[in-house]
Structures are given as C-alpha cells and as structure tokens.
C-alpha cells in the first residue's frame, strides 16, 4: 500500500484541496494523508475526497487535523 503525506498547514483554500486532489489523482497511491490546521480546509478536503469516492478519516491533533484519505 503506497501512501503520501502532504502538509497544508497555513495554506488557505482552495490550495489544500488542489494539493490533495493532485495526490489522489497520482497513480499507484491508495492512501493520502493531509495535515491541515483550519476547519475550513478540513471540511473542504474531506468533501473533495468523498466526491472522488475516497474514504475519509479525521483525527484532531492539537491545533491541527490529520486527514487520512483511502481509496
């Protein structure tokens, strides 16, 4: 299982969504982890992933969130 971590802390939308989608579209990846530190980014990345048919797990980590997107 190949995975990738992308760090989107501090980036404002739509940049986290663009990066997450790019990673999800990469061939061979079936898990993408996205670090964000804003609820807007969390919600938007989660919505984009669900729309693309990926499963989303959200784990709060202090001020940040770790989203685990799996195919």
């Amino acid at each position: 299982m190949t995975s990738k971590i992308i760090d989107c802390c501090g980036l404002s939308c739509p940049e986290p969504v663009i990066q997450a989608r790019k990673a999800m579209q990469e061939t061979g990846l079936n898990q993408v982890n996205v670090r964000v530190n804003a609820t807007v980014a969390r919600d938007n990345v989660a919505r984009a992933a669900r729309q693309m048919g990926w499963q989303v797990e959200i784990e709060p980590r202090g001020e940040e969130f770790l989203l685990t997107l799996t195919r």
Binding site: M1, G10, P14
Partner: protein, 371 residues
C-alpha cells in the same frame, strides 16, 4: 447532505434580508454591496469627499462582528496571518477599483441581475473570465504562502475596528460625513442594518459563503457546493423583486448603474481575478477578518484604500458611465494582476521543482512509502 441544506437555507435567508433592506431604505439593488458600503465608510471617514457616497454602513460592522461571535462560539477564532500581506492589501485595493468602475461588488452584481439590470448580464461573463484566468494560475501552483500564528491582538484588529466604527455611527460626531443626498443618504434604520449584518455575518461564517468561490470551485473542481448557495440567493432576490414590483428589465435607467458594456465586462474581470489571487470576494474577506485572519483585515483595509483612490482621482463609474481615467486604470490593473499571477506562479513552480530534485537526491527510491 446536511451541508447542502445549510448553505441553501442561508442563501434564502440572506436573499430575504437583502430585499428587506431595500424596502427599509437602502438604495435599489443595493440591499447589500460590500464594495459600495466600504466606499461609503471611506467617505464617512472623509478619506474621499464624494458627497453622495458617505455613510458608516452598519451592515459592514455587523458582518465582521457576526463572524467574530460565531467563530468564537465554534472555536474557530484564531489569530493567523503573514501570508503575502502587502500583496493582499493591494489585491484588495484592485478588487475595489474594479468594483467601483462597474458599480458593485460581485454580490451586488447578482442583485443587479436579479433586479433585471441587463448591464450586470454583460458583467457576469467578465467576472467569470477573471476567475478563470485566476484558476489557471492556481492550477499551476499560485500561492501567497502559508499563514502562521500571530499575536492574539492582531486577530482583534478587525472586530475592534468594527466596534470603533459602530461607536462613531451611533455618536455621529461632527467630523464624520453623512450624505444628505444620493445613494449615501439612502439607508435602512441603523439598528436594523446592524442586525441584518450580524445575521448575515453568522450565516456567511458558518457556510463559508463566497461569490468568487462559487464560480472558482466549479471551474477548478466541478464542485457546485458554494454555487448552490449563491444561486439560491439570486433566485430568492429575483422572486422578491418580482413580488414587490421592483423588477425592471433592461439596460437603461437602472439604479446606480451605467451602460458601458465593455467596461462593465473588463472591470468585473479585474474583480474576479483579484479575488482569486486574494482567496476570497470582498464579503469573504470581511468574514475572515472577523475570524481573526490578519491577512483578510489587510485586504479589507486595501479595499477601503482603493475606494478612496477611486473617488479622489475621479475614476469611479457613475450613471454617466466609466470615466476615461477609470478605463485606463482598469487596463493597467489587468496588466498588474497578470504580472502578479505570473511572477508568483513562476516562483512557486521553480520552488516545487527544486524540492523535487532535493528529494530525489536524498531518497533514490520513493519519496514517502509505508507498508
């Protein structure tokens, strides 16, 4: 699903409030207009001396404070900033400069269209064109860089400014300007305006309502989430105008509007592109400012600065049309915005290439791999 219901309900409520504000005294097709209201505030403070557009619009203070309260309650109030601050200030100014040639921010663009003003119909493709150009930059990696944590006080600047303006409009000291005639003199009662601002501030904070994001997300991701809210707002106002008899279809004699189609198209293009580069339309910037985002506060100050420039230099549009100075300004600002987009995107591309090369030399196999 719940998200969808929320944004659609918000669209309806915001639409009804917009109609109500016009009935209660705001100028026609201007129940809400962030650009116009910030321009009136710039005038009220004497930053420009266009006598017909001076008033400290309480809707603006309501929006910021409504967003502040909700963000606080939902634990989203956070002091952030430091991402391209100076550039954001000028992107705000450019957004306003485009909006004042057209005579309305993107929100009023929708309201004008819903009132039957066909000049807005020419400006909508301009707005979408500007957003489309911005989306090309975004796809290539345009970014103003990550924001970081800032001193807590910085987060309070937006809300405190709102409180200050509120005190000024209520106390009405002699040094504040209030229009005696023209759009600035047409206003809903102070506390109703404030309340309307608070309600919309709360709704916009919760739903992330953004008139630029609505079109951007469609172009970028085929995502219609934000658009659904904006579309419902438009339909609500359209129905409201039809019911109250304020719908009048045509190009001529539309309230606070002109018929220079080319400049309506190009100036809203400026607003669309600048809004994408700054990450939000004027409304969204106010809401973010209320949430503690110092970068958005800088953008709002830029909007006010842009308004002052436009009226001091006589560049703003009026029912007589777009003045030559304003036309030249629109062309120059288009070029500046393209320059900003190109330069930042090029840097972002170069940096991501350098990162990729570094990674390759460090780890020959796969960048990040897990069992």
């Amino acid at each position: 699903m719940k998200e969808k219901t929320t944004i659609i309900t918000a669209g309806i409520i915001i639409g009804i409030i917009t109609i109500a504000l016009v009935i209660l005294g705001n100028p026609a097709n201007m129940g809400y207009c962030i650009a116009c209201f910030l321009r009136d505030i710039a005038g009220g403070l004497g930053l420009h001396r266009a006598g017909v557009v001076q008033y400290l619009r309480p809707e603006i203070m309501g929006l910021v404070l409504g967003a502040f309260l909700t963000a606080f309650i939902f634990k989203e109030f956070k002091s952030t900033g430091g991402s391209g601050v100076v550039l954001r200030f000028f992107l705000g100014a450019f957004m306003m400069m485009g909006a004042l040639v057209f005579l309305g921010c993107p929100w009023r663009l929708l309201l004008r269209l819903a009132g039957g003003d066909l000049n807005a119909l020419v400006a909508v493709p301009g707005y979408i064109f500007g957003i489309w150009v911005g989306v090309i930059f975004l796809r290539q990696g345009y970014t103003l860089g990550p924001a970081g944590n800032q001193p807590r006080l910085s987060a309070l600047v937006g809300p405190l400014l709102a409180v200050g303006l509120l005190i000024l409009v209520i106390a009405a000291p002699a040094f504040i300007f209030f229009s005696e005639e023209g759009p600035g003199s047409m206003r809903a009662p102070l506390f109703i305006s404030l309340f309307a601002g608070l309600v919309v501030g709360v709704l916009a904070q919760r739903t992330r309502f953004c008139t630029m994001g609505a079109f951007r997300d469609i172009l970028l991701f085929r995502d219609f989430h934000l658009f659904s809210g904006v579309a419902v707002l438009f339909l609500t106002v359209l129905i409201g105008n039809l019911v109250t008899g304020s719908f009048s279809l045509g190009f001529l004699n539309q309230p606070v509007a002109h018929t220079d189609s080319l400049w309506n198209f190009l100036s809203m293009g400026v607003v669309g592109l600048a809004a994408v580069l700054a990450g939000g339309c004027p409304l969204r910037q106010l809401i973010l400012s209320g949430e503690g985002n110092g970068d958005a506060t800088a953008t709002v100050l830029g909007l006010v600065f842009g308004a002052a420039i436009m009226h001091n230099f006589g560049w703003a549009g009026s029912p007589a049309g777009a003045p030559v100075g304003g036309q030249i300004m629109v062309v120059v600002v288009w070029l500046i915005l393209l320059g900003i987009g190109f330069s930042i995107t090029r840097q972002a591309l170069a940096e991501s290439r350098a990162r990729a090369e570094r990674k390759e030399s460090e780890k020959p196999v796969e960048s990040v791999q897990r069992a």
